[in-house]
Amino acid sequence: MTAPPNDPNAPFNPPPRQKPASMAVYKRELRREIRRKKTEPEINFLNITAMMDMMTIILVFLLKSMSAQSASLPQSADLTIPKSIVTTEASQEGVAVLISKSQIVVDDNPVVPVPSNPTQGVEGKYKRSGPNDLYIVPLANTLQTWRDRDKQVRAATGKDPSSSEAIVIADQNTPYRLLVEVLFTLGQTEFSKFHLMVLQGAKK
């Protein structure tokens, strides 16, 4: 006879303990479970090292080309450079002679003032023999100093020392007479090649 189900005097009878699976089955299940729960590692940081390298190289080139092309040109109401259709590279060789509306400047040093009406060139007192002459004495003296120094540099660096070059940066309204006086004075002080500075991009 069996005891009733709620009999407190019945003896404790635990459920039979399950027999563990074999080690091979256990390991197989463990491997399967590890594989199932495995997640791809989260990418916390984007690797932008390659992009940074590229950006740095581009930046260096950009700054270098800009510094070469801007050529420290002070564009203002006193000096507006004429426009041209040429697209050649600007030459950096030679002394910079700047003709603005108010003065002639050689290598950042003002040399001769430009009169308010420069259609007859600079004032006669600055020229060798009066208003009709083309030779501007203070300009020639400054250029001669530069030329003497450049001659030695050219001789030392293996370039032809017989003549020098000049970069002429003139305002777009400079009258032809004043331009020719400057070019003539440059020619008289052994400058044989002139680079006329212009801005690219004029319309045809």
């Binding site: 399950q18 563990p20 699976a21 800009m66 040109l73 032809y176 002139f194 212009v198």
Partner: protein, 187 residues
């Protein structure tokens, strides 16, 4: 089939949990995002402040006072001279003045000023057509690349540069016409 016991299942559950990496075991990447922010700002300021002016240079030679001491050429030369005056371009070739229309020798301005955008201005396309016609007039002039440019004292520099541009290349096919410029002195 064999079944796993509760103990084995529990152990498998415990062992199969993905391991948390310690901070020192994570990939060693430097956080350069703030640095990039700074660089980007600096770059924008640099680009905004640098005034980009694309310049070029036109190469020329000292002005010549013309005539004296020059040897007579052994072959016929064009000897092109363009003179800017207030009314237009006077063109001289082979020692004679080119007549209006650039077809013949005679008095007058070869290319007078025209109406450009409703106001009188130098007619650079016409000048280009004129020098092209003169250069193509004879095979002997094909190799000639030098032009002398002169002007009245009051002519602005921009007009000189535009004239140099007009005689430099053929507008139609880009061929060189007279790229070598000498400045002349009005006597």
């Amino acid at each position: 089939m064999e079944r796993l016991s509760a103990q084995q299942r529990s152990k498998i559950r415990r062992l199969s949990e993905p391991k948390e990496l310690a901070p020192d075991e994570e990939g060693g990447e430097l956080n350069i995002v703030p640095f990039l922010d700074i660089i980007t700002n600096v770059l924008m300021f640099v680009l905004a402040t640098v005034s980009v002016t694309f310049t070029a240079t036109l190469d020329t030679f000292p002005p010549r006072a013309g005539g004296a001491g020059a040897r007579a050429p052994t072959t016929p030369t064009l000897g092109l001279t363009v003179i800017l005056v207030n009314e237009g371009f006077s063109v001289k070739a082979r020692g004679g003045n080119v007549a209006p229309g650039c077809n013949d020798v005679g008095p007058g301005l070869a290319v007078p000023k025209g109406q450009i955008d409703g106001k009188p201005d130098y007619d650079y396309p016409q000048l280009n057509a004129c020098v092209k016609k003169l250069k193509n007039a004879s095979d002997e002039f094909k190799g000639e690349t030098t032009v002398t440019i002169s002007a009245s004292p009051n002519i602005p520099y921009q007009a000189i540069i535009s004239t140099m541009d007009a005689v430099r290349k053929n507008d139609d096919n880009g061929e060189d016409l007279f790229p070598d410029v000498n400045f002349g002195l009005a006597r």
